[in-house]
Symmetry: C2
Subunit: 109 residues, 2 copies
């Protein structure tokens, strides 16, 4: 009978929230604006907005407003967010070695 580490459980809860991994991966590529992320990722504005708000609350994403015309709002990773880079890298590494060509277009059902 394994006991579940509460910190691990919390971290998994975060990372297994739909789209969070892709958002982190996008932001590891540098600061992004809302509309950039919307076109980079297959996610709608409604969920992107929710996820960014959640990640900001968790201290992983930072939001900066520039009062130009038109208003510019930039999203970037905090130190806590950038610390997730090894996780994303290991996922990429596993993907490169173990995701086969045929699997690419199959959903997980």
């Amino acid at each position: 009978m394994e006991k579940l580490c509460p910190r691990f459980e919390k971290a998994m809860g975060l990372l297994s929230t739909r789209w969070v991994g892709l958002i982190l991966s996008d932001l590891l590529g540098g600061t992004k604006r809302f509309s950039e992320m919307e076109s980079d990722l297959p996610i709608s504005g409604r969920l992107l907005s929710d996820r960014l708000k959640m990640l900001e609350k968790e201290g992983i994403v930072e939001r900066n407003i520039y009062s130009e015309f038109p208003v510019r709002i930039e999203y970037s990773l905090s130190d806590k967010g950038r610390a997730l880079e090894p996780v994303i890298q290991e996922i990429q590494c596993w993907a490169d070695n173990h995701v086969t060509e045929e699997e690419l277009n199959t959903e997980c059902e």
Copy 2:
């Protein structure tokens, strides 16, 4: 404009499926039976059954039947599944360093 790696997207789709991370982490601790996993993890039989079936289809989990009384069915990780250990380890590492005490009982909203 970042382009999304399809392999990464597929891997993230898998890992961000609710409960998959916890199931992998449990199975990294060794072979498990259905009822063991059910009591290790905060997941119901319905979803545990779904996720194990999905992970088996993805070639990550192996299912072995022993026709004893009562029937014994064991779940374990394939090589492809065990290759995810570094991912799980990096998540654990991030959790240890960045998940604070106060955060432990908050959900991601």
